[in-house]
């Protein structure tokens, strides 16, 4: 980067620091330098600008993480989510969304949403693994933290899981089987919770286990589904 441009960015960052201070102290929301920095980072894909944004807001995002109502459940370090939040904003923000940032509040609000979603993804992953406890999970957790999956990978995985769900739903023969598949596997409810949620539908938890037994047996016999269940 030419020296002049670096100096320009640094000046922007310095002004942005002052504007951010004013915003939090006095509610002054007109932060031209911060917005310029954000737009330069996103619209021009300027990594230096992005690094300055990171430096400017990293303590703020860390504070958000520490105060998130679900943070303690994750068992993760706050820095992990700070990194995910910034990389998520970097990946997910489009020029259209960025053009909609009319003030610093809207830009920070989006960063906050990225922080929130980073924590939620960790909780979702954890709960899915909590439902899926076997020895290989230890390795899976290590793998999961080795690299933050990018958006394309996440989208691919979601499509794959949705296709599997649709294929499996087609194998259900009764409304009760649909209930058990949905409540137990998609929502992760236990049989006692399903009974409470749908009073009068099932006689007892044993009936739910019998339905689950039937579902597993049917899927086991289904050659087409083995690609999903392997």
């Amino acid at each position: 980067m030419p020296t002049l441009s670096r100096q320009y960015l640094q000046d922007l960052a310095d002004h942005c620091a002052e504007e951010t201070h004013d915003f939090f102290q006095n509610g002054q929301n007109a932060c031209a330098s911060c917005l310029t920095l954000f737009k330069r980072a996103v619209l021009e894909q300027d990594e230096d600008a992005w690094e300055l944004i990171y430096r400017q807001y990293e303590p703020l995002v860390k504070g958000w993480v520490l105060r998130h109502p679900a943070f303690l459940q994750t068992g993760e370090e706050a820095d992990f989510f700070v990194n995910v939040a910034f990389s998520r904003m970097w990946q997910a923000i489009t020029p259209e969304k960025c053009e909609g940032f009319n003030d610093i509040k809207s830009a920070l609000r989006y960063l906050q949403a990225c922080t929130h979603s980073a924590i939620l993804d960790s909780i979702r992953q954890q709960r899915s693994e909590w439902l899926d406890i076997d020895a290989s999970d230890v390795q899976r957790q290590i793998d999961a933290h080795a690299a933050i999956p990018n958006i394309e990978d996440r989208v691919q995985h979601r499509i794959y899981c949705k296709q599997a769900l649709i294929a499996i739903q087609k194998r259900m023969k009764t409304p009760k089987e649909h209930y058990v598949l949905h409540e137990m596997f998609v929502l992760g409810l236990k049989p006692s919770e399903i009974i409470r949620k749908h009073p009068g539908v099932f006689r007892d938890v044993q009936e739910i286990y019998r339905i689950k037994e039937n579902i597993l047996a049917r899927l086991r016999r289904d050659k087409e589904l083995q690609k999903y269940l392997a």
């Binding site: 979603s117 998609v186 992760g188 086991r220």
Partner: protein, 265 residues
């Protein structure tokens, strides 16, 4: 080896037709895997049952990890919904899902709790007072509909046959209550008010409005207005110190009034 192959290998190796009856069924093993002690004595002694249970757990786990929340929007999309960034079409699709998904409802409630007060609040909206009275005649009134209270019944599958509950709406802090008011949505949650033992705190979120801080919140008990609050720029509002009772909530804007009636804490 596929999990189904593991299952078959274990089963075939161990169980002949004559021994089958001596062991527990898959349903009973599944119950044992979930912690039921009813079958524990036999299973813990029986290698055959334990092996089958292990194979079942493998299958069960695979299915769980594949399907868990397969219908839910990505966390970031849900968060974007929570801050009103999505297009009308996307918003409608997410709203339809959230109305039926307790997990996404919970995540939206976390978001509302998380985003509240982390950014500096702007000056409170001016008191409505006389100005409000003057425009009162032109106000559109919407009675919001509680959309995520479901009543299941035999013979209906998930997503089918959902009915709206009748009678008072009980806040039980189990999951957020979602209300539909045309273009706008309101989420309510009730918590124990730790500062006032025996009393409750109402935490709300207004979504779908560009300037939610133009709204004020009023809580009514019968003909008495018992509390007022402002809505912040993110759509959050909180009312503390509420005794158990039945209330009506109003979200008031100079041109619009949203009523949430028969809320029972």
């Amino acid at each position: 080896m596929l999990s189904s192959d593991v299952y078959r290998a274990n089963r075939d190796a161990i169980m002949t037709e004559s021994t089958l009856r001596a062991h527990y069924s898959d349903a009973e093993l599944l119950a044992w895997l979930d912690g039921s002690r009813e079958y524990a004595e036999h299973i813990e002694e029986c290698e055959a049952c334990r092996q089958r249970a292990l194979a079942l757990r493998l299958e069960d786990n695979r299915l769980h990890s594949l399907l868990y929340r397969a219908e839910c929007p990505p966390a970031l999309t849900l968060a974007e919904y929570g801050i009103g960034l999505l297009s009308e079409e996307e918003r409608r699709a997410i709203r339809a899902h959230v109305d039926n998904c307790p997990l996404c409802s919970q995540e939206l409630a976390w978001q509302q709790q998380f985003m509240h007060s982390l950014l500096p609040e702007e000056a409170p909206a001016p008191s409505l007072g006389d100005q409000w009275q003057a425009v009162r005649e032109g106000v559109r009134v919407i009675v919001a509909q509680w959309v995520n209270r479901l009543a299941g019944g035999a013979g209906t599958g998930p997503g089918m046959g959902m009915q709206f509950a009748m009678g008072p709406m009980r806040g039980d802090n189990q999951r957020p209550m979602l209300f539909d008011a045309g273009e706008l949505q309101v989420t309510l949650e009730f918590y124990e008010d730790v500062a006032h033992p025996g009393r409750h705190q109402l935490v709300g979120l207004l979504v779908g409005e560009e300037d939610p801080d133009l709204f004020r919140v009023q809580l009514w008990r019968g003909k008495d207005r018992v509390a007022e609050a402002t809505v912040d720029e993110l759509g959050n509002f909180i009312i503390d110190n509420l005794p158990p009772d039945q209330y009506n909530l109003k979200l008031i804007h100079p041109k619009l009034e949203i009523q949430l009636n028969d809320l029972e804490i």
